[in-house]
Symmetry: C3
Subunit: 307 residues, 3 copies
């Protein structure tokens, strides 16, 4: 199995993966559970092939690998792999790596679609760890799992997505996942210049998922179960919208407007769009969310290697 | 044992290594075999010390290490090791690494002869992973093994070497290895400006190995058992030879001229000197050849660590 | 337990650590001992998070990790971790890493005090692997252990420290450690412009440790048990002192002035401040000292992971 796009996971596939993720989460809490996991794939290897650095994603995958017993072969500068520097095609690179017998090759590439090309020819399972403006399916999976593990469900939720919705890969993907489930309602909170794309709105309509748009953060967070926040980069705003940027910050005051059992998510890194005094609030789940990245990647690697 | 030069392997040493390589190849085909290998050197470590990046060679060695159970300590930027940046000698660097108890240190260095210097003082086994224009013995070993595993012998073969024979490290080394065995005949196919060096021709004569030279690719490949192809870099050709470059490409038509049981080799990466429609021909062995690099390095590491 | 500063180790803590280090040293001499160590922490991981390259320190920690069975997740370019490049704080980075369940995170950072900040918030044990001009506690520990393992004691010793005592982190730290013990005498050998700081001299006085200062290397090494030498960088000397630099070299002649059972130490890398013909003298302990770095780091990691 290749993991190239979040789209390839239907409802059943998601629940199956999340059940395994729950089991791994539980196992990691005890020494005997950790030992059992670490003994599972002792005779296997994975390879991280990063054509651009993304230290956090790489560490998360590699730690996931080690916790399952894999040997982890790592490269952060795959651009210097003979391929890029000497003109080798991605197809030839895969031809070589197929000979190394990895359980999975985890690829990061700056160019959209390049990892799909790799998966098309590779006999080794390929995991997309981000291809430019394209996909980053394990990020979408960990976002979805964070909602699932907090609410026990993925339907009948009101989800607010705020910040840069135009260029942000995470909110766009999450919206598409939520549309697979029933009775979700999405509130997009942004400025006009960084609003969610029409393609996503069309997709939601086609899937009978309701949504609304606002630039009012107070109205945006009220009544929501999930507040998924991202950074509104000033340099991407047009002149008219620049004055609004300072209003897109979640702080102690914003917390008062939220539901008692809401959860606040953020793909991290965070700069100042969520103030640090929010971190101690039990609704702040962004560090838990980052930790879920490890769990999801373990579940995925374990699934792939036991196929 | 240090592995500094292909010259240190006599016929017996080659056959011994290839027998072990065959055994490892066989063991890797079954889960129980892989598990056994991965349990062999669990309490040992190897270190890759690369003074210049060579991602493919590094990945191959490190994967070989993991498949044998070694802990793998890796560096791609050994030039920043105190040595280079602060003026430490290679001898002192070895003095430090000797204290770390590695089973092997695999060194890549841009300067010819530097790895020989390391091996001269190191108590830890050193493996040369390429020193500039000098040696790259594991590449020569994997080339030789690929011929051996396809024909079951290393004598009585007609071997064509084509492309850049002047600067190419691989054909030069392979010619020297073939001269150790009886009744081989070598056909050098190149332009005048990139022809094989006189030193190699002298060496072949001294060892009673016959050869011929041609710039005609059709004549070059006909009747050969092995076609070892490399890239003819246009920028290295002189004015008179430039027009010939486009003729040094192996494609579907060239295939028709070859023997039915010939094998086509290439050290990779390949650019356009072998067209991709050749890849599906059963005679195309260059990806198998790359995979043999893993096997040879496993055999070598296992030999060194069990000495 | 975080390891941020050498100051946090009192006499008892040092002896306890050195006893464990002795045991590890002994265990590493036999295959069964090595196997036992390598099986100790198979289900655990450590992470090296280096914001600047320090290949030797990183290799030493990672090798120590592998010899104890840890999975080792490595980064040399943590500056590209979302933190630095996107403005994430060290506190947030720790928040993320806490979710990965490492037994220890080993941090190198160019900025003094940054690792203290990390340790203040991290739930994961942090080990300082050097923070700018600040601390490098495992270097101090390996220096101290080298003296201890050669003399069986840390009191009643005459210790000469020579070279750059003003900017050199190692002599400054070692002086402070020696002041914890009774009846030590320190001889500082340097030029006026690179003399030991007044803060260290005050500290020694407060702790009743005697010292003297000289720019005469012959007088400096005579009668000492330990000669701890460092490089006197010419570019750091003022005009008046420049002529003295060539005198700060330990060579065969200097050896004649030393006690028969003295030991010569150096933090390495060495350039020309100790000539290579000294290396064969049994008193030269700088490579042993580098190897002790591995042992001390193993003892420390084992202590932290079994807490």
């Amino acid at each position: 199995m290749h993991v190239v796009s979040i789209d390839q996971f239907d409802k059943d596939a998601l629940f199956e993966l999340f059940t395994k993720t729950d089991q791994i989460k539980e196992a990691l809490t005890s020494p005997s559970g950790r030992k059992k996991l670490a003994g599972k794939h002792r005779d296997k290897q994975i390879c991280t092939l990063f054509y651009e650095p993304s230290t956090r994603t790489r560490l998360s995958f590699e730690t996931a690998g080690y916790k399952l017993g894999f040997g982890v072969v790592s490269t952060e500068s795959a651009g210097q792999f003979s391929s890029a520097s000497k003109g080798e095609t991605m197809e030839d690179t895969m031809g070589v790596l197929d000979g190394y017998g990895y359980s999975a090759v985890i690829i990061r590439h700056p160019e959209t679609g390049m990892i799909g090309r790799a998966a098309k020819v590779a006999k080794t399972p390929i995991i997309n760890a981000g291809d430019g403006a394209g996909e980053h399916p394990t990020q979408s999976l960990l976002d979805t799992y964070t909602i699932y593990s907090n609410f026990g469900r993925l339907d009948n939720l009101t989800v607010t997505m705020g910040g840069d919705l135009k260029y942000g890969r995470c909110p766009r993907s999450l919206a598409k996942v939520l549309a697979k489930f029933d009775d979700n309602h999405i509130k997009f909170v942004s400025t006009k210049s960084l609003a969610i794309g029409q393609d996503i709105k069309d997709f939601l309509k086609q899937n009978n998922t309701t949504y609304e748009e606002t630039s009012d953060i107070e109205k945006g967070v009220a009544g929501s179960d999930v507040i998924y926040w991202t950074r509104l980069q000033k340099e991407r705003l047009d002149e008219k919208d620049k004055g609004l940027a300072h209003g897109f910050i979640i702080d102690k005051n914003t917390l008062k407007l939220m539901k008692k059992d809401a959860i606040i998510m953020h793909p991290l890194p965070r700069v100042d769009e969520i103030t640090t005094d929010v971190d101690d609030d039990p609704r702040a789940k962004y560090f838990e969310q980052a930790g879920n990245g490890l769990l999801i990647r373990m579940a995925l690697l374990d699934t792939i290697a036991t196929e």
